[in-house]
Symmetry: C2
Subunit: 384 residues, 2 copies
Amino acid sequence: MQSFTFYNTTKIVFGKGQISELSNLISKDQKIMMIAGGGSINKNGVYDQVMSALEGYKVIEFWGLQPNPEYEKCMEAVQLAKEEKVDFLLSVGGGSVLDATKFIAAALHYEGDDPWAFLDSGEEIKSMMPVGCILTLPATGSESNGNAVISRSERNQKLAFSNPKAMPVFSILDPETTLTLDDRQTANGIVDAFIHVMEQYMTYDVNTPLQDRQAEAILKTLIEQAPKVKANPNDYNTRANIMWCATQALNTLIGSGVVQDWSTHMIGHELTVLHGLDHAQTLAIVLPALLKHQRKQKGGKLVQFGRRVWDIQDTGEDSVIQKAIEKMAGFFEEAGNPTQLSAYDIKVDDCLIAAKRLFEREGKIGERGDIGQAEIEAILRLAE
Amino acid sequence: MQSFTFYNTTKIVFGKGQISELSNLISKDQKIMMIAGGGSINKNGVYDQVMSALEGYKVIEFWGLQPNPEYEKCMEAVQLAKEEKVDFLLSVGGGSVLDATKFIAAALHYEGDDPWAFLDSGEEIKSMMPVGCILTLPATGSESNGNAVISRSERNQKLAFSNPKAMPVFSILDPETTLTLDDRQTANGIVDAFIHVMEQYMTYDVNTPLQDRQAEAILKTLIEQAPKVKANPNDYNTRANIMWCATQALNTLIGSGVVQDWSTHMIGHELTVLHGLDHAQTLAIVLPALLKHQRKQKGGKLVQFGRRVWDIQDTGEDSVIQKAIEKMAGFFEEAGNPTQLSAYDIKVDDCLIAAKRLFEREGKIGERGDIGQAEIEAILRLAE
């Protein structure tokens, strides 16, 4: 096992009706800026629940954060928060709204010229305005980690920061708020959570049997819950189980002491920038292709994945690996996310610039640092 | 799934040589009271590492905490800490030293007459002196929870409190410090961690598949690592895996959203008070008997436990249950902890007072509140 620090300070308040706990989580003297997306929280009643819980507080609202939240939009929120002298940021929505809120919170305490430095030059976040979260879409795990991904389309950039200081002080997870998610959002969430686990699990072994099994626990549960939510999207317990899986997938626990490999995410981000695909749509395309390409390097864990997660009994390891990748791809397809670029009418030649951009920015990627421009191109061709 | 709050604020610093991180974890202006046990930390070099890391700090020392730490001894430490005006308590040792340190920390901020009220009348801990931990014996999980168990022999009491405010601010877990543990300490740690998981897992189902699998992940890893540590007590990775299992077993994660049943611990505590057995020795005696007695009530989970944790393929559920309990008892025996009172020359008639005392204090126990005095007596007879 590798040495590690595990420190997760987010208070999770989980269950039906828990939005009413807000007044126990934010002190009355705080001026709050509620940050939200495009209005779905109006339709599903979450906005009303929040406002009812915040009666007696000073609250201003900032709306309009979109999936793949944009730098420019975030900076508008920074401006408003400064003018209004707010003390606390409350994100109400999915991971994109929350990622934006974290960036806004960090920007509000930043003394340099342009807080984009947190993303493109790795400047460290030393302090940020406190952030609370009401999560309405389980997927990114942002509700219990210090990560955020922000886009700056004018520069063709979609970049991430990760800092323990950027964890929400609390996150309210009420599975009832997810009952109204549509099929696409639900599928994206399941695939995103699944692949978060894979990026921390599908690497070379450093003797971490507990972390492996904790990762497999999430994978198996997602595999089991996905058809249930399709059959019965209104089942509270199924939604609750998916929501808890998504949080556990990226709260840094299963990544403690192990080798990680975020190649699929890095390639996926480039595809979103290029073609506007949803985040999880890109991941479902990249991962099967990446595993086919890296089947030798990741062979040991692929066999374990096949046997333990997919119960493949074959004796031959090659056969286990092949079936495991096929079953995983089938799972993504079944959940609702195709695994080939062609499903979105995207030609691979229109993606190769992603390999160049990524390589020029990051150098070789992968847990062994052996995935360069040529390898990324080969992976994209396998996903044609 | 039940509603829950998950909030674990302990920073875990895990790995070889991490004691040297102490100076980054405690600010220089704090006057520290180091609290320790009987001297094993002198023999294994931990004391020297701590003192070297704390060069330049004001440090006083308080020694002599024993397993099943005593109220009277703790109150001596409270007295000294007050006289010396310390700001920070550093526990160096196993779970008993740490439990004592938590109680001392709470007592130091207590304004009532006798802080025993935290234990025998459930008075709430509102604030306590900060506690840091250097763990040298993986077992209790105290390094990442707000629990403590304190004994008051003059009153025949061994009682617990549990409060999120009582979590250590940090815990340093260096598996190297556990290489010198003897067979008895190692066995006790493995059995204690295993049974912590069981108390949160072996209950009726409320649709928590992820928590179930996370629990099974710990159980399976302990089952796999136990013979390894017996064969090779000096293997760092085996010790590291056991240490991480023990933390994960009782950091409140697998208990989130599930039904819990701490009957085995409650009965075990009484046996320690009566006969001075080690904590984990009592648990290994009580749990197999309790599961035999409760096999009907816990049938569904027992079958799952048998199939998933012990890979029992039998089709008949009764047979799976019987074999699962036998295999678990065999695992405790193999680890080094007998499962019958007779192994310690204890007659069951000399234990029955435990049933009376426990029932008089707690009423009926168990996840369904159906284990009263007669049932505890029956369980003890099954453990004869």
